[in-house]
Symmetry: C2
């Protein structure tokens, strides 16, 4: 059984209908039971070295100069949870003793499943505000509404919602072998699933076929959806597929990858075993396969394939 | 066998890598073999009453005052296909004799599968330009690049891509019955699948569970992806699921629906049969089920369920 994808599993009622009620949101902002997470461009505030925990601060501890505050939802204990952008205040004066900024990738790797999900949600929503203060329709500065889930333009009245960019990511399978690609910036030996943004008016299945053909010159059939994963760097939603090889010679085509090649199931299994036992080594020839990290849905797809799911 | 979803199947090489080459795009713009579709806010230009066909115009026929021109890609015969926003010029002087604007929903219903896909693609891409001329980061007017697939900010250098909003749409199944909902604005008797936008940092499976709980007060398990459909009104991507009923009493909760209720397989089958034979009638009691139109993925999901897929 492959574990759930990282960045899923936040245990929170997002309170979608209630957050449209501005009075209710205001009450939560002033409720002494409410807490807030604190987010910067680089990550999220945690405390504790060995077992880091998300810092949940009373809202009155947030200084006036802090950035946007958004309502994440209501926690299982009934208290409201917010997230605040402390980019410009935390560096000057730590908000609480012992707190430090943990990068979001590290948060996904180190924190319990559902806590990683919360960190991703807070980072994604505040990242959107950081880059979408203006109305794309008319350019005016927009107002924050619905607890931070809407920005509305006071000039043209355009309503703007957080952006989520769907990305297809796929294992191309041909019997006992899988097609993987490599980006030039990756650590030596690393290969991972092909991936790309879904384009305008394209089904997921069409995006899978187009990306594989564009990146690797290969045609596929029978795309099969496996699972999905939020990937808030800054706002992607990874949609994991397998697809069957149909034809063509695998080759690098579009310049984003430096190599594409087939790996046998035995090679992938050996790479997973070497990693698990700590015996993985980069060779001078660079031939030893380094799998994508467990954080990535690509690894879950490969683990699922190895497990025969 | 359920037919493919409407608005999929455009037969076109989107030329993703090549369109980044501005010189290549310019050559296509001046190639006498290139053609363009013509799009307005209300639909797309077609000719012919009985069997409407998309109007493909030589680019030199487009007057100077027309809006954004985007490269859709390369057609199977090797010629480039563009789309141009003629909102402000077509009303004054028809671009070509006999051409008329066909609404996009009608285009999806009347045109062959792959032609409907082209119409959706052209409308989605130009709709994005119509509402995203400004940089969301700084408010400046952005420049069109990559054949219309990127807008770049000359001030802050932000790069903006067409927006695609993922929406989950799901049949909640409980043995031989299905949970459907009804919006107040719909024709009498119509019920359809529950649906809602995927939120920031949420997996598709989490979005399915959240939306069903928010809209109908019901919990689900085992969400299963079925298929996807571009829904360019203006930029949604419908992600069709089934999910198994787990608990709760179905009731309207969030104000978007006016009713949610269970229908048996026999009721859904009777509605499909009545529609097919032209015997469907609204009763005074409003109790006769009117299924969503074949255009909608909700109908494909229901047809698939009836067919036992």
């Amino acid at each position: 059984m492959v574990p759930p994808n990282t960045f899923t599993g936040a245990q929170l009622d997002r309170a979608g209908p209630r957050r449209r009620d501005a009075a209710w949101v205001q009450e939560r902002l002033h409720d002494p039971a409410s807490r807030t997470l604190a987010v910067t461009r680089d990550g999220i505030l945690v405390s504790g070295e060995e077992e880091p925990q998300l810092v949940r601060l009373p809202l009155e501890l947030i200084p006036g100069g802090a950035g946007t505050t958004v309502l994440l939802g209501v926690e299982p204990d009934g208290s409201a949870l917010f997230a605040v952008d402390v980019e410009h205040v935390h560096a000057h004066r730590p908000l609480t003793p012992g707190a430090r900024v943990l990068g979001l990738r590290e948060a996904g790797a180190l924190l319990p499943q559902e806590v990683g999900g919360l960190a991703a949600y807070a980072s994604a929503l505040l990242g959107w505000h950081r880059t979408h203060a203006h109305c794309a329709r008319c350019g005016a500065v927009t107002d924050v509404e619905d607890g931070g889930h809407v920005r509305r333009c006071p000039v043209c009245h355009g309503e703007h919602h957080p952006r989520t960019d769907p990305v297809v990511i796929m294992l191309v399978l041909d019997g006992d072998r899988v097609l993987l690609g490599r980006q030039p910036s990756w650590p030596r030996g690393r290969y991972s699933a092909l991936a790309g943004f879904v384009e305008a008016a394209e089904s997921l299945e069409e995006a899978v076929a187009r990306e594989v053909l564009e990146e690797a010159g290969v045609t596929v059939r029978a795309p099969r959806y496996v699972s999905s994963q939020p990937w808030p760097f800054p706002s992607s939603l990874m949609l994991g597929f397998t697809a069957e090889y149909a034809g063509g010679e695998a080759a690098v085509l579009d310049g984003e990858l430096e190599d594409v090649r087939w790996f046998t199931r035995a090679e992938v299994a050996a790479a997973a075993a070497a990693e698990a036992s700590g015996t993985w080594e980069a060779t001078d020839a660079g031939a030893t396969l380094l799998l994508p990290p467990p954080l990535a849905i690509a690894r879950r797809l490969l683990d699922g394939w190895l497990a025969g799911d």
